[in-house]
Amino acid sequence: MRRTTYIQAINEALREEMQRDDDVFLIGEDVGHYGGLFRVTRNLLDEFGEKRVLDTPISEQAFMGMALGAATVGMRPIVELMYMDFTLVAADQIFNQIAKYRYMTGGLLKVPLVIRGQQGGGKRYGSQHSQSVDSLYAHFPGIRVVAPATPYDAKGLLKTAIRDDNPVAFLEHKMLYFTRGEAPPPDEEYLIPIGKADVKRVGRDLTIATFSFCLLQALEAAETLKDEHGIDCEIIDLRTVEPLDTETVWESVARTGRLLAVHESYANCGVGAELVARAYEEAPDLLRAPARRLGMAPVSIPVSRVLEEEALPWKEEIIATVLDMVRR
């Protein structure tokens, strides 16, 4: 298989789905003529024209609401939020409208659309351009939430998301954009189901359930834990945050007896807390030690390199937490 970047994988998924289905269109700020601030949508306007790739004013509420309207009659809008933090600007349309529309109409309408963009810290963008919103999206029923960590997964999941009859939040990560990984050539189509986790590392002492950029941090942590402490972590890439593939997690915990959930959105009322709660609801007997979770410290992400690093639940914190869990 060839190697490609995460950005390239997403760009290909968009192109292929736009070729396949005329109802798919892109809408957002700078997505057309410029090709996206992060160049994720580049060249698509050239290929598909201004009626498939729409440059908008800075009006997130309106274009999010327009995407809903268009989706209810079978169009498949893909909305780019330049930074996922701007979810909050369009929050009414996303959570009071898009998430609820099917339910409020008693199932009379479908809302097949994708909201995509990058989130996350690590590049010193500060409080309003670094927040991870996976837990926020997951809190509201009615939106699927996908957050792939590899180019392969990104492409396969985005194609599925575009074909899904439901709203999907497709959360990219700015630290992943230039990472590379293997992927089949463009003509070899593949889809990855939403709601299916993937075991990215096999181990026997402890299960780490994570997703997005934290997966890479966990994989690095696992190497250190193995080399320096002889602790063998199994690492599950959840890939989808809503619905959560708890089956795969419990299957792993049945072998390791220990569970640590890690994500970059706030720990408080986050996906990790949810996974811990479900573990005690659904699989309490499998746990040999208390299940734990790690998330962002309860501060809005600071700009300074050293402060940002401290606030993020990355490699060092994962290592320290695993050691604490195992030594207990």
Partner: protein, 377 residues
């Protein structure tokens, strides 16, 4: 204390104990009392600049039947709410009927509409069944949305009725999205969206005005200006005196009309639709109207004097329509006949709704996601 035991107090149930000031203040001196922001004038005083052709008498009769149906359904709903059969916030459109009816008959099958929580009249004007409507508002299984959406969420996709909304102005970009779909697909469908005068100051209105105008979307913005935003008269919060002039700032065609006259509304919407279908972009219509009932069921209306309501009552949509029909030679008995027929229809609809069973509790968990067995439907 399980919910079934709670008869919902109206929002202002304890109002009676403390009378609010009986007479609202007048608009501060110096204002020139335009139709947009005062209730001193009638809808017929609006700044209409339209040629209004006569509609065929048969059509007027049909419209009249529709108007009475809406009115009687709203009255039936208010009575049911008073009995505690309906909870939550139920907003009736008594007095607003002509805006919906004139518009519905000016548009085609295939066109789209979105509206507000005050959307019963749009639903019926667009052809929704009163029985299923009442059942929905009562939360019964035969409601159009199986009792999930209720009064604030009238919807009927097969009629082009794409949804009402509980969030002020949220339905407006939805209609722009429907117009966008029509434009992108090269169809000649038009979308119309209804909203109130109070909605004008939600930010998303501004965003949608700009985008719709820039992209010349086939969209009609229809403001049902009843001069109140809940219990607050619009002049108290609006920096704009002539609402219909405002959207001209976006290069949009706009007009202020008598929203209580179906023929005027029909003419204005027809013109706007023609503009939309020929690619000339959106139109903003300000229909001056008046809400004869409370903002919602249970509203004690302490914020406006009875005389104001009475003054406006003299020019309410049914009266205007009856006058028109009489001028066309339609006799009082013909009108009474319609009234009676509709009365029966609405009674039947109400009976249908009352006999409709409660939804099964398993229904609670369905319709969150589409098309996936793992998600409950």
């Amino acid at each position: 204390m399980k919910p079934a035991d709670h008869t919902p107090e109206p929002a202002n149930a304890d109002e009676a104990a403390s009378p609010a000031p009986a007479t609202p203040e007048a608009i501060p001196d110096g204002s020139r009392n335009p139709a947009s922001i005062t209730t001193d004038v009638l809808p017929s005083d609006s700044a209409t600049e339209l040629v209004v052709p006569d509609l065929p008498t048969d059509l007027l009769l049909e419209m009249y039947r529709k108007a009475v149906t809406i009115r009687l359904m709203e009255e039936a709903l208010l009575a049911a709410a008073e009995e505690g059969q309906i909870g939550g916030a139920m907003h009736t459109a008594i007095g607003h009927e002509a805006n919906a009816i004139g518009a519905a008959y000016a548009l085609r099958s295939g066109d789209y509409v979105t509206c507000t929580y005050r959307g019963h009249h749009h639903g019926l004007a667009w052809g929704m069944d009163p029985g299923k409507a009442i059942a929905e508002v009562m939360g019964r299984s035969d409601g159009f949305a199986k009792g999930k959406g209720g009064s604030m969420h009238f919807v009927s996709p097969e009629l082009g009725m794409m949804g009402a909304n509980g969030i002020v102005a949220a339905q407006v970009p939805h209609a722009a999205g429907l117009a966008l779909a029509s434009y992108l697909r090269g169809e000649d469908r038009v979308a119309i969206t209804f909203f109130g005068d109070g909605a004008l100051f939600q930010g998303v209105m501004h965003e949608t005005f700009n985008m719709a105008s820039k992209w010349k979307l086939p969209l009609i913005f229809y403001c049902e200006n009843n001069r109140y935003s809940e219990m607050t008269p619009i002049w108290r919060t609006s920096s704009i005196e002539d609402i219909y002039m405002f959207p001209r700032a976006y290069g949009m065609a706009t007009v202020q009309i008598d929203g209580n006259d179906v023929e005027v509304v029909h003419a204005a919407v027809s013109e706007a639709a023609a503009r939309a279908r020929t690619g000339s972009g959106p139109t903003f219509i300000e229909g001056i109207t008046y809400r004869l009932a409370g903002h919602m069921a249970g509203d004690l209306e302490t914020y406006r004097p009875q005389e104001e309501v009475e003054r406006q009552q003299a020019y309410e949509p049914l009266t205007v329509l009856r006058r028109k029909l009489r001028a066309r030679g339609i006799g009082g008995d013909r009108i009474a006949e319609i009234d009676e027929e509709v009365d029966e229809t609405v009674d039947e609809a109400a009976a249908f709704a009352e006999n409709s069973p409660w939804p099964d509790t398993t229904e609670t968990y369905l319709d969150v996601f589409a098309g996936s067995a793992s998600n409950g439907d």
